[in-house]
């Protein structure tokens, strides 16, 4: 019986090919748009967040508990005290111990306030990809020529009106509160997709700056840790917090809460927009199925007359609606996944709209859409819910038909 009911429901949706085709098209286009838009937004946001993490933020960062927003130079810890604990956490794929100072960077033309990162070049390259954002024509990430090098952003270079190999003077307070002036040459000029980071951050070799700070050898203000992704970050974090109870062990979304909020916000918005799409589609589905039921009043009456139970009639109409919704959704989602797959490889260049102004807000100008399994599961769940909810009303309408009245219809 189940087979004939399924077969009959399937055949019934093709009675009026034009009408079914129209609603299938509407569902497919709606779901394609919903799927692709979700992937686009997720890709845009996650790429921006990942870019921030890979360029300067890292997944997890450990500070001395007294190291606060003022970047207190005396709130340091010794690398030896934490190294073995970090090494015991298998999810950690790289670590960079850094000094962090606040200072003033001055050229002959101008001066800007900056956050200075004192880094070990090899460790830094093992954690961050900032060195890859230096174009070939703009130097490199600390060329090994023995000079005191500083790596600055293009924005900073523009503000200070300096070029590669220009001389800059960094002024900061050492551990005793004494003002130190250290001269550097511009060794590399980077450019990330995050303007606010670019404007505020410069890098120098830890070995170059350490003698001027008054800090002991092996001291660090922070250690930035890399994992293979968000999931491994989530599993490594509590273990590190347990292993290092006297330290501030923070994940990327705590260090920059606006990024975590953006992630959650986009998830929410994607869900809301998709739900609105599906709600609008469900009106179309209900309308189509209601027409199909009313057109077949006599036939449904005949089926009841010859002995088809109301339950079976209800099930048949439910199946028809689910077939219609399911088929249209499959086409739309599949199309969405194909286009997402293609654009995820090739990217969508948005510079034609606002050139690189997106980068002022921390977003890349090239978007690589991404469809996460969790998002995909959410879309499928919403589609199933829409199908079921849309099916109930027409099926109930069919259920209420009286055989005798219907056969005379």
């Amino acid at each position: 019986m189940k087979t004939i009911l399924v077969s009959l429901a399937w055949k019934n949706i093709w009675r009026n090919k034009l009408r079914s085709g129209m609603i299938l098209g509407a569902i497919a286009v709606g779901l394609f748009a919903g799927t692709f838009m979700t992937a686009f937004m997720s890709g845009w946001i996650s790429r921006s967040v990942e870019s921030d993490i890979r360029n300067h933020l890292s997944y997890i960062r450990i500070h001395h508990p007294d190291f606060d927003a003022n970047n207190d130079i005396n709130a340091f810890f010794m690398q030896e005290d934490v190294r073995s604990h970090i090494a015991s956490v298998s999810e950690i794929t790289g670590s960079s111990y850094r000094l962090e100072l606040s200072g003033m960077l001055a050229s002959a033309a101008n001066a800007v306030g900056v956050a200075v990162k004192g880094v070990d070049v090899a460790d830094e390259k093992g954690v961050f990809l900032l060195y890859q954002t230096i174009p070939d024509t703009c130097g490199s990430f600390f060329p090994d020529d023995g000079r005191m090098q500083i790596v600055i952003s293009r924005k900073t270079a523009e503000k200070l009106k300096v070029r590669l190999r220009s001389k800059l003077v960094l002024t900061f307070q050492d551990t005793e509160g004494e003002i130190q002036n250290v001269a550097f040459r511009v060794g590399g000029i980077f450019k990330t997709s995050n303007t606010s980071f670019d404007e505020g951050c410069v890098l120098v070799r830890k070995s170059d700056i350490l003698p001027y700070t008054g800090l002991p050898a092996g001291a660090a203000h922070e250690v930035s840790l890399m994992t293979s992704g968000f999931e491994t970050c989530r599993s490594a974090l509590p273990r590190l917090q347990t292993l290092l109870p006297g330290m501030d062990v923070q994940s990327w979304d705590v260090l920059q809460p606006e990024l975590g909020l953006m992630f959650r916000w986009i998830d929410l918005m994607n869900g809301v927009i998709l739900a609105i799409f599906l709600a609008a589609l469900s009106f179309g589905i209900v309308n189509t199925m209601l027409m199909a039921v009313l057109e077949r009043t006599r036939e449904l009456g005949m089926l009841a007359c010859i002995g088809m139970s109301r339950k079976r009639i209800f099930r048949m109409i439910m199946l028809e609606t689910l077939f219609l919704t399911g088929l249209g959704s499959c086409i739309g989602i599949l199309l969405g996944l194909v286009v997402t797959g293609y654009t995820a490889r090739n990217g969508i260049d948005l510079t034609f709209m606002l050139e690189d102004q997106f980068e002022d807000f921390g977003f890349g100008s090239i978007v690589y859409p991404v469809m996460q399994l969790k998002t995909f599961a959410g879309i499928v769940t919403l589609v199933i819910l829409t199908g079921l909810l849309s099916a109930i009303y027409p099926a109930r309408k069919a259920l209420k038909l009286e055989p005798l009245d219907s056969i005379r219809y």
């Binding site: 019986m1 019934n12 009675r15 036939e299 010859i306 002995g307 139970s309 005798l404 056969i407």
Partner: protein
């Protein structure tokens, strides 16, 4: 237990509105035995179709008893009535009422699927019945590809498919030309004689009246004549 397939006693169907009462069936007592080929005739509004609907379990009587195979179906719930119709009664409608998306064979086997019969049994019986109504070669045709007469033949095959105790046919020839109607009636008469299937018609058609071996005449919901032909 009664020897009649259909037995009604003082059967009433009264429609009421605020102003008046209409006695569509007015105290009908009637017995139909196995193998009868009976026509219920009468002018429009005489209550033929209402009586047929009551006997078919499609409508409930206002009063009186209605026994099919000894079981009083007026006491059955609507769900039980659906099941009763599925297993005991075959229906032939004036306007064929086949399922347009199914082939002739699928239309016939559909009712057996509803009964839960095995697919192979349903298929073989469908072909057997389509052969019996002369449409074995059109088994894979959809109703739209068949003439009115052929569609009604499929409807007869469908009505017989569930192996019902009797078949109710409401104006089965009304939409057919005279040749198709004659062929259909010949076929139903043959099935009646060969398989001893009971047929109960509601009709105005003199061709059915000519073939029927018993003619019950209704007027204003009452039986005014009940003739059993000789031979």
């Amino acid at each position: 237990m009664s020897s009649f397939i259909i037995e009604t006693k003082d059967l009433y169907k009264i429609y009421k509105d605020q102003a008046s009462e209409v006695h569509a069936v007015d105290g009908v007592s009637l017995c139909i035995a196995q193998g009868e080929f009976t026509a219920i005739v009468g002018p429009s509004g005489s209550g033929k179709t209402t009586l047929l609907n009551l006997i078919g379990g499609l409508d409930t009587p206002t009063a009186g008893s209605l026994c099919i195979d000894g079981e009083d179906i007026s006491r059955l719930s609507s769900r039980e009535l659906i099941d009763f119709r599925l297993h005991h009664i075959g229906f032939i409608f004036q306007s064929y009422n086949l399922i347009p998306v199914l082939t002739a064979k699928e239309n016939v086997s559909f009712i057996m699927d509803l009964q839960g019969r095995k697919r192979r049994d349903a298929d073989s019986r469908s072909m057997e019945l389509l052969d019996a109504v002369g449409l074995g070669d059109r088994a894979d045709s959809r109703p739209a590809k068949l003439s009115g007469g052929q569609q009604q033949r499929v409807a007869v095959a469908r009505a017989l498919a569930s192996k019902p105790r009797f078949i109710l046919a409401d104006e089965p020839t009304a939409n057919l030309d005279s040749k198709s109607a004659a062929n259909l009636l010949d076929m139903m008469e043959r099935l009646n004689k060969q398989e001893h299937t009971t047929f109960l018609f509601s009709t105005h058609d003199p061709r059915i009246m000519a073939k029927a071996r018993r003619i019950i005449t209704l007027e204003d919901g009452r039986i005014v004549n009940d003739i059993v032909k000789e031979g």
